[in-house]
Symmetry: C2
Subunit: 385 residues, 2 copies
């Protein structure tokens, strides 16, 4: 007869910790007896888990806080979660600006800061600007750097699991940058690097246009659109972090470049930036025929990109963000064409978080990481940095 040898004890400990912590975070405070009853775990298991959480500084005994001498006899010990035990940062690195959000362990934002940065700035200058933004934010909020438990960073480009930017053509000197490692020098806590469209998708789901849906594609619409997807409420990064990088699809058809697409002359549009594109859209609104044709081509491409994402993923909801979301008439043609060609057309909505989407998503990822960490008081999980 065989013997029972299976099972993963550290996994069970993590599950038990998660269960206890969920119970404690859902209430003001609770006794060991209450936790034992609600979780179905044995009392020794609950005691071990709570002890670990106290050691980690994440749980405190209420009686100890309120003075042990307050009551006679031996009242039942009560415990509560300490949201003030640490802080989180959500950072955004963009072409024109860097931004930072500061929050407690429940994800409540307690401060924010942003600075402009030249489009031509190299990696060193851009990171220095970000460091200055963070320093100012922490100083203003009166939060010590040592109190930070996790930092989320969102950046354009494909981000590898170790925080290296595999490909990032939007920012000078960005491809190959070991962004996670560079930023880790400024913090003692884990630094989590994420693609900007992925972060924005997480943010819209947390507190934006997608709070009601777990199956969302967020399109960061611009000259070369990127997308972030949530499937069943969880971020879908893809095997190599490249999911949603749909901008390359047109290369296959050998179709025209964005410069040609948006040109109203016989020459490619130069420089190809937001201001130049906004001008083309303004001309189109004033009735200029060539500008209208350029805008039509641009929207048709956006429709094709979004359709490819929708056919592959079949989301409930598509959220359009990025600067193109501010352009007139993006939603109507998208809805019309998706209804024609998608077997099950999704809802289409504009971003509700606008400029704040990317940094908010970075903050949520830091919060997710801390919550995972809480569920692993034995230190058995390796942070993604």
């Amino acid at each position: 007869m065989g013997r029972l040898t299976g099972g993963d004890p550290s996994l069970l400990r993590r599950i038990n910790s998660a269960v206890v912590l969920h119970a404690l975070r859902a209430t003001d405070c609770a006794t060991l007896t209450e936790i034992t009853r609600v979780t179905g775990l044995s009392r020794p298991t609950v005691e071990g888990v709570v002890e670990g959480l106290i050691e980690a500084g994440l749980v405190v005994e209420k009686a100890a806080e309120e003075g042990a001498a307050r009551r006679q006899g031996r009242p039942a010990r009560r415990f509560r979660f300490r949201a003030e035990a640490g802080h989180l940062l959500g950072l955004e690195i963009g072409a024109h600006r860097v931004a930072a959000l500061l929050a407690d362990l429940d994800g409540r934002v307690i401060g924010s800061q942003a600075k402009d940065v030249p489009e031509t700035a190299g990696a060193d200058e851009r990171l220095e600007r970000l460091r200055g933004t963070v320093a100012e934010l922490l100083r203003r909020a009166g939060v010590a750097r040592g109190s930070l438990r996790a930092v989320g960073v969102a950046t354009p480009g494909i981000v590898e699991a170790d925080g290296t930017v595999r490909l990032g053509t939007a920012l000078p000197g960005w491809t190959g940058l070991r962004l996670g490692e560079r930023l880790s020098r400024s913090f003692k806590c884990p630094v989590l690097v994420e693609n900007d469209a992925n972060a924005a998708a997480v943010a819209e789901h947390w507190k934006g246009a997608a709070t009601e849906s777990d199956d969302v594609v967020f399109v960061l619409a611009g000259l070369s659109p990127g997308a972030g997807s949530l499937i069943g409420g969880r971020l879908h990064r893809g095997y190599g972090g490249a999911a949603g990088e749909i901008g390359a699809l047109h290369l296959l058809g050998r179709e025209v470049t964005p410069e040609t697409l948006l040109s109203t002359t016989d020459q490619p549009l130069h420089p190809l930036d937001e201001q130049a594109v906004a001008e083309v859209f303004a001309q189109a609104r004033q009735g200029d025929q060539r500008a209208r044709a350029a805008v039509d081509r641009f929207l048709q491409r956006l429709v094709h990109d979004v359709a490819a994402l929708v056919l592959a993923l079949d989301p409930e909801l598509v959220v359009i963000g990025g600067w193109a979301a501010g352009l007139d008439g993006v939603l109507a043609p998208l809805r019309h064409e998706l209804a024609r060609y998608c077997l099950r057309p999704p809802e289409v909505a504009l971003s509700r978080l606008g400029d704040a989407a990317v940094a908010t998503g970075a903050l949520r990822l830091a919060l997710d990481h801390v919550e995972e960490q809480l569920f692993s008081v034995e230190g058995t999980t390796t942070p993604r940095r």
Copy 2:
């Protein structure tokens, strides 16, 4: 001070059942003490769970089997999982044939059967053919119909959660067919209906070309390709079951239809079936210029479809199945073009299960369902039928 009221007792019971059953299935047999030790659950919890599993016929006490009088005193009771307690079917409904696989509760195949069916057969005739195939298979294997615990069915088309075919142009009379309900009349157990490409993806992951990867896109390549995706080892159906139905993408570009694409004359190819297409490929191999051009167009479209899936999902591996997988020279241009245009090109492989992929996937889905059911001895989950 707040009171601890949260938690979902039925969810906890399901989790506890799953933990106990996993432990039991991983071994020959075990005592209550062993199960308690490995799972970390309390003894009363383990006793309750095991009792529920015995009532469900899925666990048996070893001592009871071997004769209670065999030993003196009160030896510790030992329990084992009963794979022979029930059976599963995996069914495939195709344009030219229907097929069935029979297995035990561990998914071990103990019989198979297939029958041809005319391409023009209507829904009634096709389903009758399937019923006959199943009846013959059960009779040959000596398995009673009442022993079936779950039936998986794979079909072309978009399948809704209730087993209705929302859209299925490949088979006559298929769109709108309440396939799950129709087949449920023949079985007392749950009938799970799934899209054929989705089922094949599951099969290749279970025992085909994708056993080493959890992030897979399976392309059922044909005139209008469909795809099934696994993300983190789990089937991605999409919000409305339409994920991977990439065939519609070309409609957006107003590009030519498959009939025109594969034509070697000035007229659309008619009839458009596998035999006609195989002839075009044969002519191309013999050096016919128009046929070679037609094949190039066909492959280019396949590359575009696969690229859209890869850019959206970023899988580790793409498996090519379906009849086009049998055509010469599908892999080389796919690998070449994906490497050029995908930021992180995936591996590309041919299906290892061939014709058996779809029915094998249907069987695996039946097995998945039974395993889920095992984890829910209280009957709190609703089967998807």
